[in-house]
């Protein structure tokens, strides 16, 4: 699992044992994942802003999952009352 880390070079670095190139490498990879920052490739987004947007994005994803869990639990609970409905829905899904 740490085979990829073994390939990291031990250059003199300014940030916590990583070279700037590696940081910007990872950051650009991260940037592709954040929907808001994916579009403007021309703008140089600062690392700090990118990380902040990443945190916000993860928080919003967590919130979405919580909302969906809420909806799902309500949907699943309401079908329990009618056992026929529950059986039908299960057969539709599986």
């Amino acid at each position: 699992m740490s085979t990829r880390r073994a390939s990291r070079s031990s250059q003199p670095s300014s940030v916590a044992g990583m070279s700037d190139e590696q940081i910007s490498d990872l950051l650009s990879k991260l940037r592709q994942l954040i929907p808001q920052l994916r579009t403007n490739h021309t703008d140089k987004v600062s690392a700090s802003k990118l990380l902040q947007e990443t945190c916000n994005y993860i928080r919003s994803l967590h919130r979405e999952v919580d909302d969906l869990s809420d909806q799902l639990s309500q949907l699943l609970a309401s079908t329990d009352r009618d056992s026929d409905q529950a059986a039908i829905i299960r057969s539709l899904l599986l």
């Binding site: 300014s14 990872l26 999952v65 909806q71 639990s73 949907l75 409905q85």
Partner: protein, 251 residues
């Protein structure tokens, strides 16, 4: 032959007691399945899981539905007894769903997601480990906090890197601070190196997006099915609805 018996074996193993041993068998069955599909993730590093691929999405969706229906079956049996007790004490109304219902679903979704990572990422291992810890302690109500990666907090002193310039000195703490905040959001990523946090974050975000997509599809399917089905108990009417429901659903 092995691929056809794989899902059956996995389902049979899943029908057994809900233990983590069963999860290991599922993981092995999955490995056998996906190796036969020509999965290219031969390495064991973070970022090898292709969360965006359709097979991965379908697999997660299927496992999620299985896990949810399993929990419904087991909880309906126990909730019947609980409802009797509640009716006797007249404290809780039977119509309102249990308050931990959403937390349960969230926990199941996270567990299935972490299992799909096959132990390749730190966050997935942290999710499964914290759930194991929770179930061992018997505190099922704390599941809402479990996915956040609670664990022994290592008090790591802030690293003092060799500062090369005035400008760098200012930039460093901000970036490091933000990475620390990020590490708190991703389960199991407190007190690890910056590069690890960034790696885990990329993987975690992709996995979360897949989770959201699958749960959205499931929610839409369930709510659509509910709208189409009449709230009657006669099977004949429901049978007629199935024909129209599945016809429009599969289109």
């Amino acid at each position: 032959m092995s691929s056809s018996s794989g899902p059956a074996a996995a389902a049979a193993a899943a029908a057994a007691a809900d233990s983590h041993r069963k999860k290991r068998r599922k993981i092995e069955a999955d490995d056998a399945e996906e190796t036969s599909r020509g999965r290219k993730t031969a390495g064991a590093g973070v970022g090898e899981t292709t969360w965006r691929s359709l097979p991965q999405q379908r697999l997660y969706y299927t496992r999620l539905v299985e896990a949810l229906s399993r929990s419904r079956r087991s909880s309906s049996a126990s909730s019947a007894e609980a409802q009797d007790a509640a009716a006797a004490s007249a404290s809780a109304s039977a119509s309102s769903p249990p308050s931990s219902g959403a937390g349960e679903v969230r926990g199941i979704a996270d567990r299935v997601l972490a299992t799909a990572a096959k132990g390749r990422s730190r966050w997935s291992r942290a999710i499964l480990a914290s759930r194991l810890r929770m179930s061992r302690l018997g505190k099922h109500h704390k599941k809402a906090r479990a996915p956040t990666g609670r664990g022994p907090l290592k008090k790591k002193p802030p690293p003092q890197p060799a500062l090369e310039g005035g400008a760098r000195k200012r930039r460093l703490p901000a970036v490091e601070r933000r990475v620390k905040v990020l590490g708190r959001l991703v389960p199991g990523c407190r007190g690890i190196s910056m590069s690890s946090v960034l790696e885990e974050t990329s993987d975690y975000i992709a996995a979360l997006e897949m989770q959201v997509r699958a749960m959205t599809v499931l929610t839409q399917l369930l709510s659509g099915a509910q709208q189409q089905l009449p709230p009657t108990t006669t099977t004949t009417t429901s049978g007629g609805q199935i024909g129209s429901g599945s016809g429009s659903g599969s289109g």
